[in-house]
Assembly symmetry: C2
Homo-oligomer: 171 residues x 2
DNA sequence: ATAAGAACATCCTGGCCCGGACGATATCCG
DNA sequence: CGGATATCGTCCGGGCCAGGATGTTCTTAT
């Protein structure tokens, strides 16, 4: 994950690599990988907290809910691939969600081996609530940025995310 | 952790954002949490691959190596707190690194309970090699960005990372 | 000086996740 | 039509990580 920053070279004369592991952020061009992971971990943690507060077991539950809400009709395997979770993990995730009445496993009418998970009305409502809370949390963390900066950040990250993995897993 | 927010969404109503009613206004901003996590996961994966290619078990090993290279003299517990890994996990991490002669556990002369891990010369060399490979990988992923954009991205992320967690764990 | 309590590292146990095997079903091909 | 092969979902075993218990050592108070 994150990496304790290291100067991509340049002005650092020190062969022992750049100092500063976490604190004292320091102005040098901190390693991008580390910066990204740090910021991402923070926001993921925030979202995870929100999800737990709303009764879910973690972020992943919410992601599954969201994915199903965006587009249904996929089998578990397809969904797993899309989300980047192992099929077996998805099984247990869905078990829990189904217990909580947030999703239902319907039989695929065209393939009786396959199950097609669907969000229930309750699941949809919960997903929406959590999304709203997440937006709020994001806004809080972005308070120090001007609208222009926020747009810029989004734009840059979008380009970066797109260029790296066209449609890779997101977990 | 990210959220499968929608693709370039055009006409699809995005459930991840406020469900409002009709509003088509505003090209809704792709969820920042998802963008960040996606980009971060990609880069972390890249670094992990690099670390494995160089004989390590994963990114974490490299992070430990780096942290020790930056500043030694810390006990395992202190190091664990700094890095955000559980002390027990750090124990096994160090076991492996010590087997590979990349670090050594010295006894703290002032507290015989404590061990002070130190990087060996071999460990230092390996750390440097991997850091160089990482810089290369980063540069590759940033190829589509102009120098100005790269600086801007770094600056924005630095602000975000700083504002979120002053000195939280980095794992 | 000594005894009580805290601190450090390790070991052990439980939980989570992935890879492989299994039963059920679908598809292909003769 | 019928058998061989591939696919879907679930179950089982191994590996990894966090939390609790343990042995050793340091610190503090009497």
């Amino acid at each position: 994950m994150p990496v304790p920053s290291r100067p991509s070279a340049k002005l650092s004369v020190d062969p022992t690599v750049t100092p500063a592991v976490g604190r004292a952020a320091e102005a040098q061009p901190a390693d991008l990988t580390w910066l990204l992971n740090r910021a991402a971990a923070r926001m993921r943690g925030e979202l995870d907290t929100v999800a737990r507060l709303h009764g879910l077991a973690g972020v992943r539950d919410w992601i599954v809910l969201t994915a199903l809400g965006v587009e249904g009709g996929r089998t578990q395997l397809q969904l797993g691939r899309e989300l980047g979770v192992d099929k077996t993990t998805l099984t247990s995730l869905l078990d829990r969600l189904e217990d909580d009445e947030l999703v239902v496993r319907r039989l695929d009418p065209r393939d009786r081996r396959a199950r097609i998970p669907e969000v229930t009305e309750a699941g949809r409502r919960l997903q929406t609530r959590i999304a709203a809370a997440r937006d709020e949390a994001e806004a809080r963390l972005l308070a120090a940025f001007s609208p222009d900066e926020q747009r810029l950040l989004r734009a840059l990250l979008t380009r970066l995310a797109d260029s790296t993995a066209a449609s890779g897993p997101c977990l």
